[in-house]
Amino acid sequence: MGRVFNLIFTVDFISSVIRVTTPILFATLAVLLSERAGVVNISVEGAMLISALMGVVGSAYSGSPWIGLLVAVLSGIIYSWILAFFHLRLGTDIILTGIALNLLASGLTVFVLFLLTGDKGVSTGLPSKVLPNLKIPILKDIPILGGILSNQNVLTYIALVSIFVINIFLDRTRLGVYIRAAGEAPNAVETAGKSVNRIRRTALILGGIFAGCGGAFMSMAYLSMFTKDMVAGRGFIALAAETMGKGNPLLSSISALLFGFADALSNNLQLFRIPSEITRIIPYLLTVVALATYSGRMQDKDRIPM
């Protein structure tokens, strides 16, 4: 047990926690934006998967990781727009549509990968690029903090900054207030002469940007290629993180960090000859326990009265 504690308090470990948290954090922010507007977004999972592939494809054909990132973000936006179109315009059930779009992403990515490379599992046939790590000038010289926070991927910094941006956005801006109102009192929004659907669509599309970044991180930073179903439930974990954080950007991000911690721990515990299957259960089990502890959300009251 002592060895485990020695592990946890190393700079390398904490730095790796931040790294593995990044995609969960992006997903959480995406989920959060749509949930606050009153839309349960289960398809962040699929949006990330599509973006992960498109990032690889974009960077491979353009030769630039930045174009890849742009393509990934655009894919996230288009994917979310499709969800918004079906749910808001055609009135489909959000969860069933979300499931359908997740399945679509899972099939379409393999389909496209096969057409481009002839391989159904990994994108090693594509010369894709990776997004760079950044050394932050002053930060990197601070003893411990520098080791943890410096030399992270550029997307990790974007994710960390986004937490605060979203916090201010929801709190202080006009659109942010509309988004919260669309989630909490849609009737009031309609009465005020604003279209709830339009606000929700905007929130979903903003979420798509973050899902796109998360996907790009997966295939262009976390790994340097696309692999089949590589998002592996991170979009679902984000749903849990958002629930645990009760829709607050800071609290939800801390929950995401908790999952990142469990994830990093499970990667490292394998070194201690604890069976890898058992350690990999940790984040998921933790989510279930946490859900039971922190549940009782506002929205749920409408679903089933107890």
Partner: protein
């Protein structure tokens, strides 16, 4: 009665339209990507009928996904978005493999115990989100999604640690004793006696949903939770029962799949049949009696697609794309909702005048 049947026809019509549109999209994609589009379309549509063996495969897959389809139907009937059928199916299969390879019982008994054991394991898995919803109001969708992964890794742990056959080249369990397996009774195919288990279960579930008090509670809960609450229905127990029954069906499905189709347990990832169950539930509009038709249809498309992938240059995943489009279109009720509304109103008026 007439009104009901018209709505029924409306559902049939929208489903047929959705299927037609998505197949047309499939053909368009095939013509865009393939060098041999006619062969591809031909094998997609008629491949499953080309031999008894191919059609047998259709029936085998249909058995498998009927179980998960039914499981999802029961849970969705109660308005419970429990997506744990995936994990329940997996954990059911691993339980069946543990029972058949580790217990020494009379062979016929062993099969029975394995199937019941698989059902119990699936039941237990889906009980967790159910009780968390009923007691703590925790979202059953999120917790069941998480539990799918718990089931996967727990299953792999059991497989690796206790059930693994070290003399077999790959990660797989010991061989299932032949006596404990379900009989494959049609020559040249692998169609097994699980088909009867499916038939019986569908009948029982139909009775349960439409002819029992509990089934009624579940349906009311699914239609209108507020009404269920105020009319004095025990909402908590209806929540739990619908998910537990669903989990049991999926678990039984897993053990039947293993005992009917496999020599050893050797899945290393979730097989995806739970998600197929969701597709079937949508196609069957959550009605257990339509599950076999929906399962047959989906299975036919799958096998057609896999024959197409084998014979031509179009990858199998085309069908995954197409079926997702299909579900979205079917759930897009608003697409024709206004028309339906008009029809219902017209009929109501006509009905009023005739009295």
């Amino acid at each position: 009665m007439r009104k009901l049947s018209k709505v029924w026809w409306f559902n049939i019509a929208t489903t047929a339209l959705a299927i037609t549109i998505s197949l047309l999209i499939a053909f368009m994609i095939i013509f865009m990507v393939s060098d041999q589009p006619l062969d591809a379309v031909n094998s997609l549509l008629f491949g499953p009928l080309s031999s008894l063996r191919n059609f047998g495969t259709v029936i085998e897959t249909m058995i498998t996904i009927s179980f998960t389809g039914m499981a999802v139907c029961v849970m969705f009937q109660g308005g419970q978005f429990n997506l744990g059928a995936e994990g329940a199916f997996f954990i059911g299969a691993i339980t069946a493999s543990a029972i058949t390879t580790k217990l020494s019982l009379h062979p016929g008994m062993l099969m029975f115990v394995a199937i019941v054991g698989g059902g119990l394991a699936g039941m237990l898995l889906c009980y967790i989100p159910a009780i968390l919803r009923a007691k703590f109001n925790a979202d059953e969708m999120v917790s069941s999604l998480m539990l799918n992964y718990v089931a996967l890794y727990l299953g792999l742990y059991l497989l690796n640690t206790f059930l693994r056959d070290p003399n077999f080249g790959m990660l797989a369990s010991y061989k299932i004793p032949p006596d404990a397996k379900l009989t494959q009774f049609i020559p040249k195919t692998r169609i097994h006696t699980g088909v009867f288990i499916v038939a019986i279960l569908i009948f029982l579930i139909y009775i349960f949903i439409y002819r029992t008090r509990t089934g009624y509670s579940i349906r009311v809960l699914g239609n209108n939770p507020n009404f269920a609450h105020y009319s004095g229905i025990k909402v908590g127990s209806a929540i739990v029962i619908s998910q537990v029954v669903g989990g049991a069906i999926a678990g039984i499905g897993g053990s039947v799949e293993l005992l009917g189709m496999y020599e050893r347990f050797q899945w290393t990832s979730l097989p995806g049949y739970g998600w197929d169950g969701v597709i079937i539930a949508i196609l069957a509009r959550n009605k257990p009696q339509y599950v076999p038709i929906a399962a047959l249809f989906l299975s036919y498309l799958r096998i057609g697609s896999s024959i197409m992938a084998r014979l031509t240059d179009v990858p199998y995943e085309l069908i995954i794309v197409i079926q997702s489009i299909m579900i979205v279109l079917i759930t897009a009720s608003a697409l024709l909702g206004r028309l339906r509304h008009k029809m219902v109103v017209k009929e109501a008026i006509a009905h009023g005048q005739s009295i």
